[in-house]
């Protein structure tokens, strides 16, 4: 039988050592890489296509969650983190397991067994990454950057540089200070995570930074369009118009 190929993604060396030690006696697995930060993890996963990853959440460059966001082919995931339980409960359904540090060996092996079973059954991970992430609860702190991937390049867009976002089928087009970028995500994520003081959802398909709006013009019978500083014109829905009115006090 082919060995299960594993990557350990964890920025603290002692924590990596522990996982390696716990895995030492298992013949059915093979550790193919260890990564200490999000970028190198992304590279390794794309290049080596592991079956299973142990994934820490708090890491330099990219967090474990952001890493999942930009992966197109997602391996099975076991979270290993000291992060609080509430955030993790939501992952229960989709990730194979989550381990709260420090974890017992038996608990760890249990998770690995579950993962091996899932992989051996040939099911693979059929849940697309964005669906897993749709279940992600709101982070306790406001999101500060959006991670997008263009081919093999990763781009971190600071939230303060986002001008507006546009829904396009299953994708979101993010218009920012240095251009635009596409990402597979939901409008809801942006509605929930962009700071409410700066952004307004003016339309089913548009969330715009308030200070980007230059003027609001009537359009047709009783519709309006927002004219941005860049000259772009975005439609405003009736409820969006109401929200804008509240936000801007006119």
């Amino acid at each position: 039988m082919e060995k299960i190929r594993i990557i350990i993604i964890e920025d603290e060396a002692p924590a990596r050592d522990l996982i390696k030690h716990y895995l030492k006696d298992l013949d059915s697995i093979e550790i193919i890489a260890e990564c200490g930060d999000g970028f190198s993890a992304l590279k390794s996963i794309s290049a080596l296509k592991p079956d299973l990853v142990f994934l820490d959440i708090q890491m330099p460059r990219l967090t474990g969650i952001e890493l999942l966001e930009v992966l197109t082919e997602k391996p099975e995931v076991i979270f290993t983190t000291a992060y609080d339980q509430f955030a993790l409960k939501a992952f229960e359904l989709n990730a194979v397991d989550y381990l709260l540090k420090p974890f017992a060996k038996r608990r760890f092996l249990n998770a690995v067994e579950k993962a091996i079973e899932k992989i051996r059954s040939g099911a693979g991970n059929k849940v697309p990454a964005n669906e897993l992430l749709a279940k992600k609860p709101e982070p306790s702190s406001p999101v500060n950057r959006i991670v997008v991937r263009k081919g093999n390049a990763i781009n971190l867009i600071p939230v303060e540089q986002i001008r507006y976002v546009e829904a396009q089928d299953d994708y979101i087009m993010i218009y920012h200070a240095a251009g635009k970028a596409m990402k597979q995500q939901t409008m809801k994520f942006y509605e929930d995570n962009l700071p409410k003081s700066d952004f307004v959802r003016i339309h089913r398909s548009y969330i715009v930074r308030v200070e980007e709006i230059n003027k609001i013009e009537p359009y047709g019978k009783d519709n309006h369009v927002a004219v941005l500083k860049s000259g772009d014109k975005l439609p405003i829905s009736r409820s969006g118009y109401k929200q804008l009115k509240e936000e801007l006090n006119f």
Binding site: E12, P14, A15, D17, D37, P60, D84, L100, N144, R145
Partner: protein, 350 residues
């Protein structure tokens, strides 16, 4: 509530002096009513003085009772009038029969008493009014000072609680991640694991043991912070380095316990957590001119972090400075060329 007159010797003396004064006035009043003095005038004055002042002292108890119970105003007024009628009646009658008992042969006393009767009622009501007013004034004043004392007490309590709350925010991530490192070291390096457990224990003991807000020396604060950083070095290895420039003469200066902890936690969180480069945390301490200056700085990765800091750590420190020193201490932060620094100015007390 204690008796306002009996509990204080000075007030008791004043009380009797006031009565002496009143008695003199009363004597003059009755003299006008009767047209002349009798031999009974002086004994009558003394007896009435003794009796009314006694009644006046004992009136405190019913008055306290009327006033402290939550009652309607009409009930209080009714009670006061009733007790006034009773005490005046007692005073006038007892005075009469006591004087008669002392001086049985003084026949003109009865005429003197008859002539002065309406004035006796008048002075009785007047004195009763004075006493009630005095007691009323006393109770409301002492209620007020009691209330102020209670409020002051409450304020200190709130302040203490807030200080305690601000202090007890040790990051749980730190604890659990450190324990995970220990778990790992038990396998790879048991000796180091034991060291780590001891360091962690010492750190926790320091953080937990200081129950009160007694200031501690900078020396012990720094020792504890070194423990903290050593623990973090086990987790992060070469990714974390520390440097210290500390003037020895500052080490005995007192400061709030665990004040600097959130600043180092921030340096770890925003520096080491987010960077793949070596992060160096520098501590510089100097003192003079009545002030202690502490500067903590760290380099950080310039790419935006995944989540925005909430500012809790910095707020926490500045709030504690406020509560401890009022406006005598200050905190400033700087961000320049990829280096974040925070500097504290604290009045130096040894």
């Amino acid at each position: 509530m204690k008796h306002p007159v009996l509990s204080n010797k000075v007030i008791l003396v004043v009380w009797w002096l006031v009565w002496l004064f009143i008695t003199l006035g009363q004597l003059l009043l009755y003299y006008f009513a009767y047209g002349r003095f009798t031999t009974a005038s002086i004994p009558d004055g003394i007896v009435s003085l003794v009796i009314y002042s006694g009644i006046g002292l004992s009136l405190w108890y019913p008055f306290k009772f009327f006033n402290t119970e939550p009652r309607r105003a009409t009930a209080i007024v009714g009670n006061i009038i009733t007790s006034g009628v009773i005490s005046n009646f007692l005073w006038i009658i007892i005075t009469k029969y006591l004087v008669l008992a002392i001086l049985p042969e003084q026949n003109d006393y009865l005429a003197y008493w008859d002539a002065s009767f309406p004035y006796r009622v008048g002075t009785g009501v007047f004195m009763y009014g004075l006493i009630v007013l005095a007691y009323y004034l006393f109770t409301s004043l002492s209620n007020l000072s009691e209330k102020n004392a209670r409020e002051a007490q409450l304020e200190t309590l709130v302040k203490e609680t807030e200080l305690k709350m601000l202090r007890s925010q040790i990051n749980p991530h730190f604890l659990f991640n450190s324990l995970n490192s220990v778990s790992s070291l038990t396998i790879t390096d048991p000796e180091k694991a034991r060291e780590m457990v001891i360091k962690l224990s010492e750190f926790m003991r320091y953080a937990l043991s200081k129950k009160d807000e007694q200031p501690v020396s900078l020396r012990s604060e720094l020792e504890n912070l070194r423990l903290y950083l050593e623990i973090e070095k086990v987790r992060f290895g070469d990714r974390l380095s520390t440097e210290e420039t500390i003037e020895d003469k500052c080490l005995d200066i007192k400061m709030p316990v665990m004040l600097l902890q959130p600043l180092y936690e921030n340096a770890i969180k925003h520096g080491v957590y987010e960077s793949t480069e070596i992060v160096s945390i520098r501590t510089r301490v100097s003192c003079g001119n009545g002030y202690l200056e502490i500067v903590i700085s760290n380099n950080y990765d310039l790419t935006p972090s995944s989540v925005k800091g909430t500012g809790t750590g910095l707020l926490n420190v500045s709030r504690r400075l406020d509560l401890f020193y009022g406006n005598k201490a200050s905190m400033k932060t700087f961000k320049e060329n990829g280096i974040f620094s925070v500097s504290l100015f604290i009045p130096s007390e040894v």
